[in-house]
């Protein structure tokens, strides 16, 4: 009896050993799990040009490389053939190209999400690329049209240049960006009752010169600039006080078959779309015209056919005055700056929605002290250019020209 008891007790003890042993289930494998990469909705034509992604299992540290995403609607979807269930740290980086406000751009992106569960119940995960702000665009960072004085105190007007800077965080392409000069001048004498008054919907333009290119020929990195010179030569050879513009990216050349008196220097030319003069163009030394940059969305023939209205007004003499010009739709405009003499601001020659203020490039029509200076855009504390669409706030006159050596 005692022996049996003894044995049964031992059996009881031994059986608890086996009961307490736990059995491990083999982990569930998720088949065809998806990671959706959502592209930013505030830009269009987004194309993923390069991609690298990993999923790191938080417990085991095992790294799975994510296969290339496939476009699905507006987004890109990665299908992972099979992955062990668990928590994962996802990280993806690559490069996308897109179109924003008509301007093509590219940017690198990097997104990550930690502790994402991939298991039987949760097989689809989303990552959002909105980590870059597609804010900002090309802006005028410098307008230098004041001309210079020779050592003999004579006026020298051929050395005008413009600096256009990429004020965003992404690579933008300068192809099809045009330099525009307003047809009208801002003094009170320039103010007339033109009919139609195109300003609410377009810039009445007297000169339009466009950066050529197929769309991706001229990338400008964030913070980098393009210099457009009227004449890309070393002006110091003829005027000590002037600048060396041979380093400009583009120059203006009136290519109008024979009538031009302009010299074609080595620097690539802007495409000539329109100019009020057929011989030689001189940007406003008087500092009373507005300048703008815009993205031209049509080819030359179509543009000239669609945007060549001729406003008129009747002079006090009774004569019908015409303005032979082209119009640049306001929606195409990337940046605009109104210039005026300090003593005589008569009217806004372009829509106030493009520029609500103006910068005084010159004190009065007799002033020569502004020669050899430039108008520059202010920078904020982060190093970006200030662009409130108001040149009174945004621009400063009488600055040292950046091309001055």
């Amino acid at each position: 009896m005692k022996k049996n008891l003894f044995l049964s007790m031992m059996l009881m003890a031994v059986s608890t050993v086996f009961v307490s042993c736990s059995k491990d289930d083999s982990p569930y494998v998720v088949e065809n799990g998806t990671v959706t990469i959502e592209m930013p909705i505030n830009v269009s034509d987004v194309v993923l040009t390069s991609f690298e992604g990993t999923a790191t299992n938080v417990s085991s540290g095992e790294i799975t490389n994510l296969p290339t995403p496939v476009k699905s609607g507006d987004n890109y979807v990665i299908t992972i053939p099979s992955i062990t269930e668990g928590k994962y740290n996802l990280s993806a980086k690559g490069n996308i190209s897109f179109v924003k406000d008509g301007v093509a751009g590219t940017t690198d992106f990097e997104v990550s999400s930690s502790d994402v569960a991939l298991n039987e119940q949760s097989t689809a995960v989303k990552l959002v690329v909105s980590s870059f702000k597609a804010e900002g665009s090309f802006v005028f960072s410098e307008i230098c049209t004041t001309g210079t004085l020779t050592p003999q105190n004579k006026n020298y007007n051929y050395d005008a240049y413009f600096v256009i800077t990429n004020n965003s965080d992404v690579v933008l392409y300068a192809d099809s960006v045009a330099l525009i000069e307003s047809m009208f001048q801002s003094g009170s004498s320039g103010k007339q009752d033109w009919n139609p008054d195109v300003r609410p919907y377009a810039i009445p333009a007297g000169a339009v010169f466009m950066i050529p290119g197929s769309g991706k020929d001229h990338p400008v990195a964030p913070g980098e600039s393009i210099v457009i010179a009227n004449n890309a030569m070393d002006h110091r050879t003829v005027n000590e006080n002037s600048y060396d513009l041979t380093g400009a990216d583009f120059e203006v050349y009136l290519d109008n078959a024979g009538n031009s008196m302009d010299t074609d220097y080595d620097t690539p030319n802007l495409d000539y779309y329109f100019c009020y003069t057929q011989t030689i163009w001189l940007p406003s030394v008087q500092q009373n015209r507005s300048y703008a940059i815009a993205r031209i969305k049509e080819n030359k023939e179509t543009f000239l056919a669609n945007h060549s209205e001729t406003p008129t007004y009747t002079a006090t003499t009774g004569k019908l005055m015409e303005s032979k010009q082209v119009q640049i739709p306001n929606e195409w405009v990337l940046d605009a700056v109104n210039l005026s003499t300090e003593d005589d601001f008569g009217w806004f020659v372009i829509s106030e929605t493009l520029d609500a203020g103006w910068v005084a490039g010159r004190a009065n029509s007799k002033d020569t002290t502004q020669r050899g200076t430039a108008i520059k855009r202010k920078k904020d504390s982060t190093g970006k250019y200030v662009d409130t669409n108001n040149s009174t706030n945004d621009m400063e006159a009488r600055q040292t020209p950046s091309m001055k050596k």
Binding site: I41, S112, S113, S114, D115, K133, E135
Partner: protein, 126 residues
């Protein structure tokens, strides 16, 4: 003998019933709403929400927005929520706009058992 046994059983039962129960209600289904004010109707939100537990500093991220709200299962507690991205909305006049926004809160209580909610105000960045 029997009486004593019964007494002892009762004593043990009392002792065992005074056992501390584990507090097992760990998770809550949190819904975070973006509030643009009375005039705005938010249509679509594209943003990454970063939710940091104030006590453990554990960060959970999600981009699963359904209109102006996002739902996520969280450990009950107090959180800091940081949402930044783009949203599209129609205003009182029916005009549709697409703008960058940010919605932050340094302290959101997401501790209700089962489900809980929070509302964050939107600040437009442009």
């Amino acid at each position: 003998m029997k009486k004593i046994l019964t007494i002892m059983m009762i004593v043990m039962a009392v002792a065992l019933s005074a056992c501390h129960q584990d507090n097992d209600d760990y998770m809550t289904q949190a819904t975070i709403y973006l509030d643009g004010g009375d005039t705005l109707t938010i249509k679509r939100v594209q943003a990454m929400a970063q939710i940091t537990n104030l006590n453990t500093r554990h960060v959970v991220t999600t981009a699963d927005f359904d209109g102006p709200k996002v739902q996520i299962e969280l450990l009950r507690g107090a959180y800091q929520v940081n949402i930044e991205g783009i949203l599209s909305y129609t205003d009182a006049n029916g005009v549709q706009s697409l703008r960058s926004f940010r919605a932050i809160s340094d302290y959101v209580e997401l501790a209700g058992a089962g489900a809980c909610e929070a509302k964050l105000n939107i600040i437009f960045l442009d």
